[in-house]
Structures are given as C-alpha cells and as structure tokens.
C-alpha cells in the first residue's frame, strides 16, 4: 500500500477514535451525575432511574462506536489501499 496512505490512515484511525470518545464521555458523566442526584432525592424510584440511565448511556455510547467503526474501517477495510 502507498506509504502515504498507510501513514495517513493510521493517524486518521487514531484521531477518529480518540476524538470520538471526548463528547460522549462528558455527556455520560453528566447523565450519571443527574441520575445519582435523582436517586438521592427519591430512593424509591431506583428501578426507573436505573433503567432510563442505562438506556441513555447506550445511546451516547453509540456515538463513540461510530468513530470506532470508522477507525476499524480505515485499518482493516481501507477503500484506498492497493
């Protein structure tokens, strides 16, 4: 594979997953903080709070996963190779 393309793909893959982890990381931390606060105010709503929190975490996680898919695609299924 063209060395420039290889080098660029590797850098791009690292940047893709690295940058993609920032936003959802902040978002998930905020969501968990609010969930814990809600739990502290009303401990009997634990089931619903936990369920909603897990669902929301999964949605935010998927944004990081999109970056991971791009990184995997660049490393293993590079459309510019060869």
């Amino acid at each position: 594979m063209n060395p420039i393309i290889s080098g660029a793909s590797v850098i791009a893959a690292g940047l893709a997953i690295g940058l993609a982890a920032i936003g959802p990381g902040i978002g998930q931390g905020t969501a968990a903080a609010q969930a814990v606060e809600g739990l502290a105010r009303q401990p009997e709503a634990e089931g619903k709070i936990r369920g909603t929190l897990l669902l929301s975490l999964a949605f935010m996680e998927s944004l990081t996963i999109y970056g991971l898919v791009v990184a995997l695609c660049l490393l293993f299924a590079n459309p510019f190779a060869g």
Partner: protein, 233 residues
C-alpha cells in the same frame, strides 16, 4: 524456549456459494444455531399450557411479558399488540446471538477458513435487521394512514423536508452501526487482551461485553418500537 500462548490475526471469512450468491458461511451457521435454540425453548415451554405456570412455561411467560412491556412502553396501550412479535423477535434474536457469541467456546470447532463468533459481528446481519425495522415502520405508517403517511415529511414545517428525508437513511444506519460496532469492538478488545495477557485480564472486559451486548439488544428493540410508534401515531 519461546512458545506462543495466544495469537491474533486477520483472516478470511468462510465463503459459501449458494445459487450464484456468495455468503458468509460462519455467520449463517451461528444464526441457525440461535434460531434453533430460541425455537426449542419456546416450543418446549408451550407444549402443555397450564393455568398456573411453572418451570419452563413460567420462564417463557416472563420473557413474553418483558418483551411486550418494551412494545407497550413505546407504542402505547391501544396499538402495541400487533407489534409484539416483531419487537420481541428482534430483542430475542439479538440477545441470544450476542450471548452465544460471548459465552460458547467456539474455538473448539475448527472451520476450513474463518471462525465462528456472534453473527451480529458481521455488518450484513445488523444492516439486515435494521432494514427490517425500516420496512416495518414504513409498513406501519402506510397501514395506519395510507398515503397521508407522506405528510410527516413536511411536519412540523416544510423547511424540515431534507432533514426528514435524511432521517429515513440515518435511522437504519445508526441502528446497524450501534449494534455492529459494540459487538465487533468487544470481540477485538477481548482478542487483543488475550494476545497480551491470556490469563484473568480479559475477564472483566468479557463481563462488560456480556452486559453491554444485552443492553444493545434492548436498545435495538426499544428504538425499533419507538420508530414504529413515531410513524403510527
């Protein structure tokens, strides 16, 4: 004096040629196994129905209640019942497929090319499932509203037309990528950790993978029900 305890390599899929089409054999094999397991449990659980359930019938009824709870939460009391089979099948298939991929020691079965793993680690499977969801919410919308279904493209204002059209493409895309990325990423992390430290260290990641994959099954089913609800209301 130096022997290899573990190795990771990028291999080839097991390709089958069926009627002129090339398919991934290893995905089909595990998919058939998942279908067989789900069918066996449901058939055995409903052979002799009793008023007061116990044993396997109890378990099957609990699963059914959970699954129809997912549909009821999203679609609403009055119209959720026809959609329970679809949403339930999505949830059960993805859940059993992910757990089988994570728990069964597939390495014991040696294929000529490629290896067995969760069927959802192949983008084709997840795209197929999300296109089914797309199809079903289109079908639901047409059945509920006829040609008035297209009015949703210009709601709330006609300025939203390109965004709503784009949404028809991003919904299946995000559904499929979310599931595919989660499962494949967990498998890659586990295999790389097994390469680096084959004892004990991969275990927490495997447990996280089992937990995350069941959450992903729930998210897929919930989102499908939500899209159906959105186009049916």
């Amino acid at each position: 004096m130096f022997f290899s305890l573990a190795a990771v390599e990028v291999g080839e899929h097991l390709y089958w040629n069926i009627a002129g089409l090339t398919v991934h054999g290893q995905v089909l094999l595990v998919t058939w196994l998942v279908i067989a397991i789900i069918l066996t449990i449901t058939v055995l659980g409903t052979l002799k129905l009793e008023q007061v359930p116990k044993g396997l019938q109890n378990f099957v009824e609990a699963v059914f209640e959970y699954v129809s709870g997912i549909a009821k939460d999203q679609i609403g009391e009055h119209e959720y019942r026809p959609w329970v089979p679809f949403v339930g099948t999505l949830f059960l298939f993805i859940f059993v497929a992910n757990w089988l991929g994570a728990l069964v020691p597939w390495k014991l079965i040696k294929l000529s090319e490629g290896e067995l793993a969760a069927p959802t680690n192949d983008i084709n499977t997840t795209v197929a499932l999300s296109l089914l969801t797309s199809l079903s919410y289109f079908y639901g919308g047409f059945k509920a509203k006829g040609l008035g279904f297209f009015a949703r493209y210009i709601s709330p204002t006609p300025i939203f037309l390109p965004i709503n059209i784009l949404e028809d493409f991003t919904k299946p895309l995000s559904l499929s990528f979310r599931l595919f990325g989660n499962i494949l990423a967990d498998e890659i992390v586990v295999s790389v950790l097994c390469l680096l430290v084959p004892l004990f260290v991969p275990l927490p990641v495997m447990v996280l993978g089992i937990f995350a994959s069941s959450v992903q099954a729930l998210v897929f089913a919930t989102l499908s029900a939500a899209y159906i609800a959105e186009s049916v209301e």
